[in-house]
Protein backbone atom coordinates (compact mmCIF):
# COMPACT_ATOMS: atom_id res chain seq x y z
CA UNK A 1 0.00 0.00 0.00
CA UNK A 2 1.35 3.46 -0.85
CA UNK A 3 2.60 5.50 2.12
CA UNK A 4 2.04 9.15 2.75
CA UNK A 5 5.08 10.14 4.77
CA UNK A 6 8.78 9.61 3.97
CA UNK A 7 12.07 10.36 5.67
CA UNK A 8 15.22 11.44 3.90
CA UNK A 9 18.55 12.00 5.66
CA UNK A 10 21.27 14.37 4.51
CA UNK A 11 24.65 15.39 5.84
CA UNK A 12 26.77 18.45 5.22
CA UNK A 13 28.57 18.38 1.88
CA UNK A 14 28.64 20.99 -0.82
CA UNK A 15 26.84 18.77 -3.34
CA UNK A 16 24.02 18.00 -0.92
CA UNK A 17 23.34 21.47 0.43
CA UNK A 18 20.42 22.02 -1.98
CA UNK A 19 18.37 19.60 0.16
CA UNK A 20 18.17 21.64 3.38
CA UNK A 21 17.78 24.79 1.34
CA UNK A 22 14.85 23.27 -0.54
CA UNK A 23 13.27 22.40 2.76
CA UNK A 24 13.80 25.93 4.05
CA UNK A 25 12.57 27.57 0.89
CA UNK A 26 9.35 25.55 0.85
CA UNK A 27 10.24 23.62 -2.28
CA UNK A 28 9.94 20.30 -0.48
CA UNK A 29 6.48 21.15 0.72
CA UNK A 30 5.43 22.39 -2.70
CA UNK A 31 6.29 19.09 -4.41
CA UNK A 32 5.01 17.03 -1.55
CA UNK A 33 1.64 18.72 -1.80
CA UNK A 34 1.63 18.17 -5.50
CA UNK A 35 1.86 14.38 -5.04
CA UNK A 36 -0.10 14.26 -1.81
CA UNK A 37 2.81 13.07 0.33
CA UNK A 38 4.97 14.50 3.11
CA UNK A 39 8.75 14.33 2.95
CA UNK A 40 10.83 14.98 6.09
CA UNK A 41 14.38 16.14 5.44
CA UNK A 42 16.62 15.35 8.44
CA UNK A 43 20.19 16.47 9.01
CA UNK A 44 22.66 13.92 10.39
CA UNK A 45 25.91 15.44 11.57
CA UNK A 46 27.88 12.26 11.05
CA UNK A 47 27.83 11.04 7.47
CA UNK A 48 28.49 7.37 8.16
CA UNK A 49 25.75 7.30 10.74
CA UNK A 50 23.25 8.63 8.23
CA UNK A 51 24.01 5.72 5.89
CA UNK A 52 23.86 3.22 8.73
CA UNK A 53 20.49 4.54 9.74
CA UNK A 54 19.26 4.23 6.20
CA UNK A 55 20.59 0.70 6.03
CA UNK A 56 18.86 -0.17 9.29
CA UNK A 57 15.60 1.02 7.76
CA UNK A 58 15.12 4.25 9.64
CA UNK A 59 15.15 6.36 6.47
CA UNK A 60 13.73 5.88 3.00
CA UNK A 61 16.45 7.90 1.31
CA UNK A 62 19.90 9.19 2.04
CA UNK A 63 22.56 11.35 0.43
CA UNK A 64 25.47 9.03 -0.28
CA UNK A 65 28.43 8.54 -2.61
CA UNK A 66 28.46 5.76 -5.17
CA UNK A 67 31.07 3.78 -3.25
CA UNK A 68 29.33 3.97 0.13
CA UNK A 69 26.00 3.09 -1.49
CA UNK A 70 27.65 -0.11 -2.68
CA UNK A 71 29.55 -1.03 0.47
CA UNK A 72 27.04 -0.20 3.18
CA UNK A 73 23.39 -0.63 2.16
CA UNK A 74 23.86 -2.76 -0.98
CA UNK A 75 26.40 -5.06 0.67
CA UNK A 76 24.07 -5.15 3.67
CA UNK A 77 21.27 -6.58 1.57
CA UNK A 78 19.21 -3.41 1.28
CA UNK A 79 18.20 -3.03 -2.35
CA UNK A 80 19.07 0.57 -3.14
CA UNK A 81 18.38 2.81 -6.09
CA UNK A 82 20.52 5.83 -6.96
CA UNK A 83 17.54 7.98 -7.78
CA UNK A 84 19.38 11.23 -8.42
CA UNK A 85 22.94 11.48 -9.63
CA UNK A 86 23.65 14.99 -8.46
CA UNK A 87 27.30 15.67 -9.14
CA UNK A 88 30.74 14.24 -9.27
CA UNK A 89 33.77 15.48 -7.39
CA UNK A 90 35.96 17.49 -9.68
CA UNK A 91 38.66 18.52 -7.24
CA UNK A 92 36.60 18.36 -4.09
CA UNK A 93 38.73 15.50 -2.79
CA UNK A 94 42.48 15.71 -2.68
CA UNK A 95 45.76 14.35 -1.39
CA UNK A 96 47.84 16.88 0.54
CA UNK A 97 51.48 16.59 1.52
CA UNK A 98 53.19 18.81 4.03
CA UNK A 99 56.44 20.36 2.75
CA UNK A 100 56.64 18.11 -0.32
CA UNK A 101 55.59 18.86 -3.81
CA UNK A 102 55.35 15.54 -5.61
CA UNK A 103 52.99 12.64 -5.12
CA UNK A 104 55.88 10.17 -5.23
CA UNK A 105 57.19 11.69 -1.98
CA UNK A 106 54.28 10.01 -0.24
CA UNK A 107 56.18 6.75 -0.20
CA UNK A 108 56.80 5.50 3.31
CA UNK A 109 54.70 8.15 4.99
CA UNK A 110 51.77 7.88 7.38
CA UNK A 111 48.65 9.05 5.58
CA UNK A 112 45.78 10.39 7.68
CA UNK A 113 42.38 9.81 6.14
CA UNK A 114 38.98 8.37 6.82
CA UNK A 115 39.72 4.74 6.07
CA UNK A 116 37.52 2.91 3.56
CA UNK A 117 35.87 6.14 2.45
CA UNK A 118 36.07 7.82 -0.96
CA UNK A 119 39.29 9.39 0.34
CA UNK A 120 40.76 5.93 0.58
CA UNK A 121 39.59 5.20 -2.94
CA UNK A 122 41.12 8.42 -4.18
CA UNK A 123 44.38 7.56 -2.49
CA UNK A 124 44.41 4.12 -4.10
CA UNK A 125 43.84 5.67 -7.49
CA UNK A 126 46.51 8.29 -6.85
CA UNK A 127 49.06 5.67 -5.77
CA UNK A 128 48.44 3.51 -8.82
CA UNK A 129 48.84 6.57 -11.04
CA UNK A 130 52.50 6.82 -9.96
CA UNK A 131 53.15 3.10 -9.78
CA UNK A 132 52.91 2.81 -5.99
CA UNK A 133 50.72 0.47 -4.02
CA UNK A 134 49.04 0.73 -0.66
CA UNK A 135 51.76 -1.28 1.01
CA UNK A 136 54.16 1.56 0.25
CA UNK A 137 52.41 3.83 2.74
CA UNK A 138 50.63 3.43 6.06
CA UNK A 139 47.09 4.64 6.56
CA UNK A 140 45.93 6.15 9.85
CA UNK A 141 42.21 6.38 10.33
CA UNK A 142 41.33 9.97 11.25
CA UNK A 143 37.87 11.38 11.74
CA UNK A 144 36.88 13.92 9.12
CA UNK A 145 35.81 16.47 11.75
CA UNK A 146 39.29 16.44 13.25
CA UNK A 147 41.43 16.25 10.17
CA UNK A 148 42.06 20.01 10.08
CA UNK A 149 43.52 20.05 13.57
CA UNK A 150 45.28 16.80 12.73
CA UNK A 151 47.14 18.66 9.99
CA UNK A 152 48.36 21.17 12.56
CA UNK A 153 49.96 18.39 14.58
CA UNK A 154 53.71 18.22 14.18
CA UNK A 155 53.92 14.59 13.11
CA UNK A 156 51.28 14.73 10.37
CA UNK A 157 52.86 14.77 6.91
CA UNK A 158 50.26 13.45 4.49
CA UNK A 159 46.51 13.32 4.38
CA UNK A 160 43.55 12.82 2.14
CA UNK A 161 40.25 14.58 2.68
CA UNK A 162 37.37 16.42 1.06
CA UNK A 163 35.86 19.85 1.19
CA UNK A 164 35.44 22.05 3.13
CA UNK A 165 38.32 20.63 5.18
CA UNK A 166 40.42 20.29 2.02
CA UNK A 167 40.43 23.99 1.17
CA UNK A 168 40.89 24.83 4.83
CA UNK A 169 44.08 22.78 4.93
CA UNK A 170 45.20 23.81 1.48
CA UNK A 171 45.33 27.43 2.59
CA UNK A 172 48.23 26.59 4.89
CA UNK A 173 51.54 27.74 3.43
CA UNK A 174 53.11 24.32 4.02
CA UNK A 175 50.35 22.38 2.28
CA UNK A 176 50.67 21.07 -1.25
CA UNK A 177 47.85 19.34 -3.02
CA UNK A 178 49.57 16.68 -5.09
CA UNK A 179 46.52 14.83 -6.41
CA UNK A 180 42.84 15.59 -6.57
CA UNK A 181 39.63 14.14 -7.90
CA UNK A 182 39.70 16.28 -11.02
CA UNK A 183 42.32 13.81 -12.23
CA UNK A 184 39.75 11.00 -12.01
CA UNK A 185 36.62 12.88 -13.13
CA UNK A 186 33.31 11.14 -12.72
CA UNK A 187 34.53 8.44 -10.34
CA UNK A 188 33.42 9.96 -7.05
CA UNK A 189 29.72 10.44 -7.52
CA UNK A 190 27.29 11.98 -5.08
CA UNK A 191 23.76 10.65 -5.24
CA UNK A 192 20.49 10.60 -3.49
CA UNK A 193 19.76 6.93 -2.90
CA UNK A 194 16.39 5.52 -1.94
CA UNK A 195 15.16 2.13 -0.91
CA UNK A 196 14.21 0.31 -4.12
CA UNK A 197 11.18 -1.43 -2.64
CA UNK A 198 9.81 1.82 -1.25
CA UNK A 199 10.36 3.50 -4.57
CA UNK A 200 8.58 0.76 -6.49
CA UNK A 201 5.59 0.94 -4.18
CA UNK A 202 5.60 4.74 -4.13
CA UNK A 203 6.58 6.21 -7.46
CA UNK A 204 5.26 9.54 -6.17
CA UNK A 205 8.24 9.73 -3.83
CA UNK A 206 10.66 9.43 -6.71
CA UNK A 207 8.84 12.03 -8.73
CA UNK A 208 8.66 14.50 -5.86
CA UNK A 209 12.34 14.13 -4.94
CA UNK A 210 13.52 14.61 -8.48
CA UNK A 211 11.21 17.57 -8.86
CA UNK A 212 12.54 19.16 -5.70
CA UNK A 213 16.14 18.62 -6.69
CA UNK A 214 16.08 20.19 -10.13
CA UNK A 215 13.81 23.01 -8.99
CA UNK A 216 16.37 23.92 -6.37
CA UNK A 217 19.31 23.68 -8.72
CA UNK A 218 17.49 25.95 -11.13
CA UNK A 219 16.97 28.45 -8.36
CA UNK A 220 20.67 28.36 -7.50
CA UNK A 221 21.49 29.57 -10.96
CA UNK A 222 18.85 32.26 -11.03
CA UNK A 223 20.67 35.55 -11.63
CA UNK A 224 18.46 37.33 -9.06
CA UNK A 225 17.66 34.81 -6.34
CA UNK A 226 20.66 32.55 -6.93
CA UNK A 227 23.08 34.45 -4.70
CA UNK A 228 20.66 34.48 -1.79
CA UNK A 229 20.16 30.73 -2.21
CA UNK A 230 23.89 30.05 -2.28
CA UNK A 231 24.43 32.28 0.69
CA UNK A 232 21.79 30.37 2.64
CA UNK A 233 23.44 27.06 1.71
CA UNK A 234 26.81 28.39 2.79
CA UNK A 235 25.34 29.37 6.14
CA UNK A 236 23.69 25.97 6.53
CA UNK A 237 27.01 24.26 6.01
CA UNK A 238 28.66 26.53 8.55
CA UNK A 239 30.91 28.33 6.08
CA UNK A 240 31.05 31.65 4.28
CA UNK A 241 29.71 32.40 0.83
CA UNK A 242 33.20 32.78 -0.59
CA UNK A 243 34.27 29.40 0.74
CA UNK A 244 31.07 27.81 -0.51
CA UNK A 245 31.49 29.27 -3.98
CA UNK A 246 35.01 27.93 -3.98
CA UNK A 247 33.76 24.46 -3.15
CA UNK A 248 31.13 24.69 -5.86
CA UNK A 249 33.85 25.33 -8.40
CA UNK A 250 35.40 21.95 -7.73
CA UNK A 251 32.04 20.19 -7.82
CA UNK A 252 30.59 19.17 -11.14
CA UNK A 253 26.90 19.68 -10.40
CA UNK A 254 24.46 18.53 -13.08
CA UNK A 255 22.29 21.60 -13.16
CA UNK A 256 19.86 20.20 -15.72
CA UNK A 257 18.12 16.85 -15.75
CA UNK A 258 19.46 16.18 -19.21
CA UNK A 259 23.09 16.38 -18.03
CA UNK A 260 22.34 14.00 -15.20
CA UNK A 261 20.61 11.55 -17.49
CA UNK A 262 23.40 11.52 -19.97
CA UNK A 263 26.00 10.94 -17.24
CA UNK A 264 23.97 8.10 -15.76
CA UNK A 265 23.37 6.37 -19.06
CA UNK A 266 26.99 6.71 -20.21
CA UNK A 267 28.69 3.27 -20.35
CA UNK A 268 31.66 4.88 -18.60
CA UNK A 269 29.69 4.64 -15.39
CA UNK A 270 29.88 0.86 -15.63
CA UNK A 271 33.68 1.03 -15.81
CA UNK A 272 33.75 3.40 -12.86
CA UNK A 273 31.64 1.11 -10.75
CA UNK A 274 33.83 -1.82 -11.67
CA UNK A 275 36.83 0.08 -10.34
CA UNK A 276 34.92 0.96 -7.21
CA UNK A 277 33.75 -2.57 -6.52
CA UNK A 278 37.23 -3.96 -7.09
CA UNK A 279 38.61 -1.52 -4.58
CA UNK A 280 35.80 -2.36 -2.14
CA UNK A 281 36.33 -6.06 -2.50
CA UNK A 282 40.09 -5.75 -2.03
CA UNK A 283 39.52 -3.94 1.24
CA UNK A 284 36.96 -6.39 2.50
CA UNK A 285 34.19 -3.83 2.30
CA UNK A 286 31.75 -6.20 0.63
CA UNK A 287 31.87 -8.50 3.64
CA UNK A 288 34.59 -10.51 5.31
CA UNK A 289 33.82 -13.98 3.99
CA UNK A 290 32.96 -12.94 0.45
CA UNK A 291 34.65 -14.98 -2.26
CA UNK A 292 34.75 -12.52 -5.15
CA UNK A 293 33.66 -9.06 -6.17
CA UNK A 294 30.62 -10.36 -8.04
CA UNK A 295 28.44 -11.14 -5.01
CA UNK A 296 26.68 -7.79 -5.06
CA UNK A 297 25.07 -7.13 -8.36
CA UNK A 298 24.83 -3.64 -9.83
CA UNK A 299 22.31 -2.64 -12.48
CA UNK A 300 22.58 0.28 -14.86
CA UNK A 301 20.03 1.99 -17.11
CA UNK A 302 19.19 -0.32 -19.94
CA UNK A 303 20.29 -3.90 -19.54
CA UNK A 304 23.89 -3.46 -18.39
CA UNK A 305 24.82 -5.12 -15.10
CA UNK A 306 27.87 -5.99 -13.08
CA UNK A 307 28.20 -9.03 -10.84
CA UNK A 308 25.55 -11.47 -9.71
CA UNK A 309 22.36 -10.71 -11.63
CA UNK A 310 20.34 -12.72 -9.12
CA UNK A 311 21.49 -10.47 -6.33
CA UNK A 312 21.12 -6.98 -7.74
CA UNK A 313 21.27 -4.62 -4.77
CA UNK A 314 22.42 -1.34 -6.30
CA UNK A 315 20.58 0.21 -9.23
CA UNK A 316 21.39 3.33 -11.21
CA UNK A 317 18.02 4.42 -12.47
CA UNK A 318 17.55 7.35 -14.85
CA UNK A 319 13.79 6.92 -15.24
CA UNK A 320 12.73 9.69 -12.92
CA UNK A 321 15.44 12.11 -14.01
CA UNK A 322 14.33 11.43 -17.54
CA UNK A 323 10.78 12.42 -16.60
CA UNK A 324 12.18 15.71 -15.33
CA UNK A 325 14.18 16.18 -18.48
CA UNK A 326 11.05 15.57 -20.50
CA UNK A 327 9.04 17.89 -18.31
CA UNK A 328 6.65 15.08 -17.32
CA UNK A 329 6.60 15.70 -13.58
Amino acid sequence: APRKEFNVAWSIYVGWMPWPYAEQAGIVKKWGDKYGIKINITQINDYVESINQYTAGKFDGVTVTNMDALTIPAAGGVDTTALIVGDYSNGNDGVILKNAKSLTDIKGQNVNLVEFSVSHYLLARALSSVGLAEKDIKTVNTSDADIVSAYKAEDTTALVTWNPQLSEINSEPTAHMVFDSSKIPGEIIDTLAVNTKTLQQNPALGKALVGIWFDTLKLMQDPVKGKAAREAMAKLSGSSLASFEGQLKTTKLFYTPAEAVSFTTDPKLVQTMDLVRSFSFDHGLLGQNVGNKDVVGIAFPGTATLGDTKNIKLRFDATYMKMAADGKL
Binding site: N45, K58, S171
Partner: protein, 273 residues
Amino acid sequence: MRRVMNMQPGRARWLLALLPFALIVMVYVVGSAQRRAENPSDKVLPPFGEMSSAIHRVAFEEDKRTGEYLFWSDTGASLERLAIGLSIATALALVLGLLIGLLPIGNAMFAPMTAVMSMIPPMAILPILFIVFGLGELSKVVLIIVGVAPCLMRDLVFTVGSLPREQLVKAQSLGASTWQVLIRVALPQALPRLIASLRLALGPAFLFLISAEAISADSGLGYRIFLLRRYLAMDTILPYVAWITLLAFLMDLALAQLSRRAFPWAHGAEPKA
Protein backbone atom coordinates in the same frame (compact mmCIF):
# COMPACT_ATOMS: atom_id res chain seq x y z
CA MET B 1 59.00 28.01 61.32
CA ARG B 2 55.77 26.10 61.50
CA ARG B 3 55.28 22.97 59.48
CA VAL B 4 53.91 23.61 55.99
CA MET B 5 50.81 21.61 56.86
CA ASN B 6 50.05 24.04 59.67
CA MET B 7 50.34 27.16 57.57
CA GLN B 8 47.06 28.83 56.77
CA PRO B 9 46.82 30.93 53.62
CA GLY B 10 44.79 33.64 55.39
CA ARG B 11 44.19 36.76 53.29
CA ALA B 12 46.41 35.51 50.47
CA ARG B 13 43.81 32.80 49.68
CA TRP B 14 42.27 34.72 46.80
CA LEU B 15 45.59 35.59 45.36
CA LEU B 16 46.76 32.00 45.50
CA ALA B 17 43.54 30.82 43.88
CA LEU B 18 43.91 33.28 41.02
CA LEU B 19 47.55 32.50 40.41
CA PRO B 20 47.13 29.35 38.27
CA PHE B 21 44.34 30.98 36.25
CA ALA B 22 46.44 34.04 35.61
CA LEU B 23 49.29 31.79 34.54
CA ILE B 24 47.16 29.94 32.02
CA VAL B 25 45.80 33.15 30.56
CA MET B 26 49.31 34.50 30.26
CA VAL B 27 50.62 31.39 28.54
CA TYR B 28 47.70 31.59 26.13
CA VAL B 29 48.21 35.26 25.32
CA VAL B 30 51.90 34.76 24.68
CA GLY B 31 51.32 31.63 22.61
CA SER B 32 48.62 33.33 20.58
CA ALA B 33 50.80 36.37 19.87
CA GLN B 34 53.67 34.12 18.84
CA ARG B 35 51.59 32.11 16.40
CA ARG B 36 50.12 35.28 14.96
CA ALA B 37 53.59 36.68 14.46
CA GLU B 38 54.51 33.61 12.44
CA ASN B 39 51.25 33.31 10.54
CA PRO B 40 48.95 36.34 10.65
CA SER B 41 45.91 34.25 9.79
CA ASP B 42 46.56 31.51 12.33
CA LYS B 43 43.30 30.05 13.62
CA VAL B 44 44.52 27.78 16.38
CA LEU B 45 44.99 30.27 19.19
CA PRO B 46 42.93 33.35 18.32
CA PRO B 47 43.44 36.39 20.55
CA PHE B 48 40.70 37.21 23.06
CA GLY B 49 39.47 40.10 20.96
CA GLU B 50 38.56 37.81 18.09
CA MET B 51 36.83 35.37 20.37
CA SER B 52 34.72 38.08 21.85
CA SER B 53 33.67 39.42 18.48
CA ALA B 54 32.91 35.90 17.27
CA ILE B 55 30.72 35.31 20.27
CA HIS B 56 29.11 38.70 19.87
CA ARG B 57 28.16 37.65 16.38
CA VAL B 58 26.46 34.41 17.38
CA ALA B 59 25.01 35.58 20.67
CA PHE B 60 23.75 39.09 20.00
CA GLU B 61 23.11 39.29 16.30
CA GLU B 62 20.03 37.74 14.88
CA ASP B 63 20.58 35.12 12.27
CA LYS B 64 19.27 36.84 9.17
CA ARG B 65 17.27 33.93 7.85
CA THR B 66 15.89 32.19 10.87
CA GLY B 67 15.71 35.18 13.19
CA GLU B 68 17.38 33.08 15.89
CA TYR B 69 20.32 33.90 18.07
CA LEU B 70 22.44 30.81 17.38
CA PHE B 71 24.27 30.83 20.68
CA TRP B 72 21.09 30.88 22.69
CA SER B 73 19.20 28.42 20.55
CA ASP B 74 22.15 26.02 20.78
CA THR B 75 22.24 26.45 24.54
CA GLY B 76 18.50 25.93 24.77
CA ALA B 77 18.57 22.76 22.70
CA SER B 78 21.45 21.27 24.67
CA LEU B 79 20.04 22.15 28.06
CA GLU B 80 16.71 20.65 27.14
CA ARG B 81 18.34 17.36 26.15
CA LEU B 82 20.43 17.42 29.28
CA ALA B 83 17.45 18.10 31.51
CA ILE B 84 15.37 15.32 30.01
CA GLY B 85 18.26 12.86 30.06
CA LEU B 86 19.23 13.60 33.62
CA SER B 87 15.64 13.50 34.86
CA ILE B 88 14.99 10.12 33.35
CA ALA B 89 18.36 8.77 34.49
CA THR B 90 17.66 9.98 38.00
CA ALA B 91 14.21 8.46 38.09
CA LEU B 92 15.50 5.17 36.75
CA ALA B 93 18.43 5.09 39.15
CA LEU B 94 16.14 5.88 42.03
CA VAL B 95 13.74 3.06 41.33
CA LEU B 96 16.38 0.43 40.58
CA GLY B 97 18.73 1.70 43.29
CA LEU B 98 16.08 1.43 45.98
CA LEU B 99 14.96 -1.99 44.79
CA ILE B 100 18.49 -3.39 44.67
CA GLY B 101 19.65 -1.65 47.81
CA LEU B 102 16.71 -2.55 50.00
CA LEU B 103 15.35 -5.86 48.80
CA PRO B 104 17.54 -8.97 48.92
CA ILE B 105 15.50 -10.41 46.06
CA GLY B 106 15.85 -7.27 43.95
CA ASN B 107 19.55 -7.39 44.66
CA ALA B 108 19.86 -11.01 43.52
CA MET B 109 17.94 -10.28 40.36
CA PHE B 110 19.33 -6.97 39.15
CA ALA B 111 22.71 -6.43 40.77
CA PRO B 112 24.78 -8.70 38.46
CA MET B 113 22.96 -7.38 35.41
CA THR B 114 23.55 -3.75 36.25
CA ALA B 115 27.16 -4.43 37.21
CA VAL B 116 27.79 -5.80 33.74
CA MET B 117 25.76 -3.07 32.08
CA SER B 118 27.71 -0.33 33.77
CA MET B 119 30.93 -1.73 32.33
CA ILE B 120 29.80 -1.36 28.72
CA PRO B 121 31.32 1.81 27.28
CA PRO B 122 28.33 3.75 25.99
CA MET B 123 30.37 5.18 23.11
CA ALA B 124 30.95 1.71 21.73
CA ILE B 125 27.27 0.95 21.54
CA LEU B 126 26.35 4.33 20.08
CA PRO B 127 25.65 2.82 16.66
CA ILE B 128 23.32 0.32 18.29
CA LEU B 129 21.58 3.03 20.30
CA PHE B 130 20.99 5.02 17.15
CA ILE B 131 19.55 2.03 15.38
CA VAL B 132 17.28 1.07 18.24
CA PHE B 133 16.16 4.53 19.26
CA GLY B 134 16.38 6.38 15.97
CA LEU B 135 18.17 9.59 15.36
CA GLY B 136 15.78 12.03 16.93
CA GLU B 137 16.01 13.60 20.34
CA LEU B 138 15.39 10.19 21.86
CA SER B 139 18.75 8.67 21.07
CA LYS B 140 20.63 11.66 22.48
CA VAL B 141 18.64 11.47 25.65
CA VAL B 142 19.18 7.72 25.78
CA LEU B 143 22.95 8.14 25.49
CA ILE B 144 22.91 10.46 28.50
CA ILE B 145 20.77 7.98 30.38
CA VAL B 146 22.92 4.98 29.49
CA GLY B 147 25.99 7.00 30.40
CA VAL B 148 25.05 8.35 33.79
CA ALA B 149 22.30 6.15 35.21
CA PRO B 150 24.62 3.24 36.21
CA CYS B 151 26.78 5.56 38.31
CA LEU B 152 23.82 7.18 39.99
CA MET B 153 22.34 3.80 40.66
CA ARG B 154 25.47 2.29 42.11
CA ASP B 155 25.78 5.19 44.51
CA LEU B 156 22.19 4.77 45.58
CA VAL B 157 22.53 1.03 46.05
CA PHE B 158 25.53 1.70 48.24
CA THR B 159 23.76 4.38 50.28
CA VAL B 160 20.64 2.35 50.83
CA GLY B 161 22.66 -0.80 51.44
CA SER B 162 24.68 0.87 54.15
CA LEU B 163 21.73 2.15 56.12
CA PRO B 164 22.23 0.58 59.55
CA ARG B 165 20.23 -2.62 59.90
CA GLU B 166 19.02 -1.22 63.18
CA GLN B 167 17.12 1.49 61.35
CA LEU B 168 15.34 -0.96 59.11
CA VAL B 169 14.44 -3.16 62.06
CA LYS B 170 13.31 -0.14 64.02
CA ALA B 171 11.06 0.99 61.20
CA GLN B 172 9.49 -2.46 61.00
CA SER B 173 8.98 -2.49 64.74
CA LEU B 174 7.02 0.75 64.22
CA GLY B 175 4.79 -1.20 61.86
CA ALA B 176 6.26 -0.14 58.53
CA SER B 177 5.58 -2.30 55.50
CA THR B 178 8.31 -2.77 52.88
CA TRP B 179 6.74 0.00 50.84
CA GLN B 180 6.64 2.31 53.82
CA VAL B 181 10.26 1.58 54.70
CA LEU B 182 11.04 2.45 51.11
CA ILE B 183 9.33 5.81 50.98
CA ARG B 184 9.72 6.97 54.56
CA VAL B 185 13.14 5.62 55.54
CA ALA B 186 15.23 4.65 52.53
CA LEU B 187 14.13 7.23 49.99
CA PRO B 188 14.52 10.39 52.07
CA GLN B 189 17.92 9.31 53.30
CA ALA B 190 19.01 8.46 49.77
CA LEU B 191 18.04 11.82 48.30
CA PRO B 192 20.97 13.94 49.53
CA ARG B 193 23.35 11.33 48.25
CA LEU B 194 21.47 11.26 44.96
CA ILE B 195 22.00 14.98 44.57
CA ALA B 196 25.67 14.55 45.40
CA SER B 197 26.03 11.84 42.73
CA LEU B 198 24.06 13.96 40.31
CA ARG B 199 26.64 16.70 40.81
CA LEU B 200 29.40 14.26 39.98
CA ALA B 201 27.42 13.07 36.97
CA LEU B 202 27.20 16.53 35.43
CA GLY B 203 30.60 16.24 33.76
CA PRO B 204 29.85 12.87 32.14
CA ALA B 205 26.37 14.03 31.19
CA PHE B 206 27.79 16.96 29.23
CA LEU B 207 30.32 14.63 27.69
CA PHE B 208 27.68 12.26 26.41
CA LEU B 209 25.49 15.10 25.28
CA ILE B 210 28.28 16.54 23.20
CA SER B 211 29.17 13.17 21.75
CA ALA B 212 25.59 12.50 20.77
CA GLU B 213 25.19 15.92 19.25
CA ALA B 214 28.38 15.43 17.31
CA ILE B 215 26.85 12.54 15.46
CA SER B 216 23.29 13.50 14.90
CA ALA B 217 21.77 16.90 15.47
CA ASP B 218 21.03 20.17 13.80
CA SER B 219 21.50 22.38 16.82
CA GLY B 220 23.10 22.28 20.24
CA LEU B 221 26.41 23.23 21.75
CA GLY B 222 28.10 19.97 20.78
CA TYR B 223 26.73 20.16 17.26
CA ARG B 224 28.15 23.63 16.80
CA ILE B 225 31.55 22.66 18.16
CA PHE B 226 31.84 19.68 15.85
CA LEU B 227 30.50 21.59 12.89
CA LEU B 228 33.00 24.40 13.36
CA ARG B 229 35.81 21.97 13.95
CA ARG B 230 35.86 21.28 10.24
CA TYR B 231 36.92 24.87 9.76
CA LEU B 232 39.02 24.99 12.91
CA ALA B 233 37.05 28.05 14.00
CA MET B 234 38.67 28.16 17.41
CA ASP B 235 37.49 31.74 17.91
CA THR B 236 34.00 30.33 18.40
CA ILE B 237 34.89 26.87 19.72
CA LEU B 238 36.90 28.08 22.70
CA PRO B 239 34.17 30.41 24.01
CA TYR B 240 31.68 27.58 23.54
CA VAL B 241 33.86 25.29 25.64
CA ALA B 242 34.19 27.96 28.30
CA TRP B 243 30.44 28.44 28.25
CA ILE B 244 29.82 24.72 28.72
CA THR B 245 32.23 24.72 31.62
CA LEU B 246 30.47 27.67 33.18
CA LEU B 247 27.06 26.04 32.73
CA ALA B 248 28.27 22.84 34.39
CA PHE B 249 29.74 24.89 37.21
CA LEU B 250 26.52 26.82 37.79
CA MET B 251 24.44 23.64 37.79
CA ASP B 252 26.81 22.15 40.32
CA LEU B 253 26.40 25.18 42.56
CA ALA B 254 22.63 25.13 42.19
CA LEU B 255 22.45 21.44 43.15
CA ALA B 256 24.68 22.02 46.17
CA GLN B 257 22.40 24.85 47.29
CA LEU B 258 19.31 22.75 46.74
CA SER B 259 20.70 19.95 48.84
CA ARG B 260 21.62 22.29 51.66
CA ARG B 261 18.17 23.86 51.66
CA ALA B 262 16.13 20.72 51.25
CA PHE B 263 18.11 18.38 53.49
CA PRO B 264 19.53 20.40 56.36
CA TRP B 265 19.93 17.25 58.43
CA ALA B 266 22.41 15.84 55.93
CA HIS B 267 24.66 18.87 56.12
CA GLY B 268 24.65 19.54 59.86
CA ALA B 269 27.50 18.88 62.23
CA GLU B 270 28.48 15.38 63.24
CA PRO B 271 26.04 13.74 65.62
CA LYS B 272 26.89 14.55 69.21
CA ALA B 273 26.36 11.06 70.59
